[in-house]
């Protein structure tokens, strides 16, 4: 199971609001209906990503970019398969991706000599010993949970919501992953010393 954290809004699913067959055939009336129903979904996803970056005013243009992308081929939504994912999730992913790309493109490219010295400074960090985890030691789900908890610094509840599982499942999977890592590094001097303290 993936991130099955769907929120119920009470609105009918987008799939039921539009006739996909007619839409894909290029029917103008169906396209208009699709735009009317899916616009708020696409716009919300774009806005949610752009607003924190101070680019809310550009959300309309990015949403338009998404619609242009959706009908760029002869058949609108040619790349969508209702058997694979819900239409609203597909559009949300598409719109979020477009917003991220938009922010990346508009990132300022100041000449390096105009950037204040303090912005270029990097905090001193002790060199880390690189530890190589063999492929297959952890499952993909264990790896993802460790990434969410440590790299993304998510709380257990947040990671559980993202993955659509119970928080206890996150704790349990995390625990099993750490046991595997500890077991693997038993013979490794530094790592073994490091992990031996993490039992408490």
């Amino acid at each position: 199971m993936g991130a099955a954290n769907a929120r119920q809004t009470g609105a009918p699913p987008l799939e039921r609001a539009v006739d996909l067959a007619r839409l894909k055939s290029g029917d103008k009336a169906e396209w208009d209906r699709f735009v009317r129903r899916s616009g708020p979904v696409i716009y919300a996803a774009v806005l949610r990503r752009l607003a924190p970056a101070g680019a809310a005013a550009e959300a309309e243009d990015v949403a338009q970019e998404v619609f242009a992308r959706l009908c760029r081929r002869d058949r609108p939504l040619a790349g969508y398969d209702p058997e694979r994912a819900s239409l609203s999730t597909f559009l949300t992913v598409l719109a979020t991706s477009a917003a991220i790309d938009h922010l990346r493109r508009k990132r300022p490219t100041d000449p390096i000599d105009q950037i204040p010295e303090h912005r270029l400074s990097v905090p001193a960090a002790e060199p880390r010993e690189r530890v190589k985890i063999p492929d297959g030691l952890l499952t993909a789900r264990q790896m993802l949970i460790l990434t969410l908890l440590y790299d993304r610094e998510m709380e257990v509840a947040e990671a559980a919501s993202f993955l659509g599982v119970d928080p206890q499942t996150i704790r349990s999977t995390h625990h099993k992953a750490m046991l595997r890592l500890r077991a693997h590094f038993q013979g490794d001097g530094n790592a073994a010393a490091l992990v031996s303290h993490s039992d408490g």
Binding site: G2, A6, R49, R84, A85, S97, I133
Partner: protein
């Protein structure tokens, strides 16, 4: 150092060792935004859009919907662990899902205009031209007949107006 801090340290070292190099996709699947997941400093306007990999995005949407099982799910989750940008996309999309926002009417009009009303095909145009020609020809014929009728009518009306009464005897003689 607490157990949690040790776990953190171990994981940091692990993450450093793994780097953020994304794992290769299984055969047949292009990576979302192939070629444009550039280093921040090298990202530019010329970079292709991540929307290029719609098939990948559909796969990610399927994962968010919880519709993937087995090897497919593992593939996506392995990718998410190794590709911070893809994970960022998944987290953002997952949070935005199901939260529509009202959008400007003008934006709706712009998007709707992307597909123009269907234009008539050549066959329809030919039929329309033929119909116009037939109507014109029919109108011309009717007009000509109408003119003759109007002429005769006009003559009769004029005679009546002038008080001229047809001389039946003369008509018979002439005939």
């Amino acid at each position: 150092m607490t157990g949690s801090e040790h776990d953190n340290e171990l994981w940091r070292r692990f993450a450093d060792a793994q780097g953020s190099a994304p794992k290769p996709l299984p055969p047949g699947r292009g990576r979302a935004g192939e070629g444009n997941r550039t280093d921040d400093a090298t990202a530019s306007l010329s970079a292709p859009s991540p929307l290029a990999g719609e098939e990948d995005l559909l796969l990610l949407a399927a994962w968010i919907d919880g519709r993937l099982e087995g090897a497919e799910r593992e593939t996506v989750e392995a990718r998410l662990s190794g590709d911070p940008e893809l994970l960022d996309l998944a987290v953002s999309a997952s949070r935005a899902k199901g939260l529509p926002a009202p959008w400007p009417k003008r934006a709706e009009a712009r998007a709707a205009a992307l597909i123009a009303p269907s234009r008539p095909g050549w066959r329809f145009l030919a039929a329309a031209a033929a119909a116009v020609a037939m109507v014109s020809l029919g109108g011309f014929e009717m007009g000509r007949a109408g003119s003759q009728w109007v002429s005769e009518e006009s003559e009769t009306d004029l005679a009546a107006e002038l008080g001229l009464v047809p001389d039946n005897d003369l008509m018979e003689t002439l005939l």
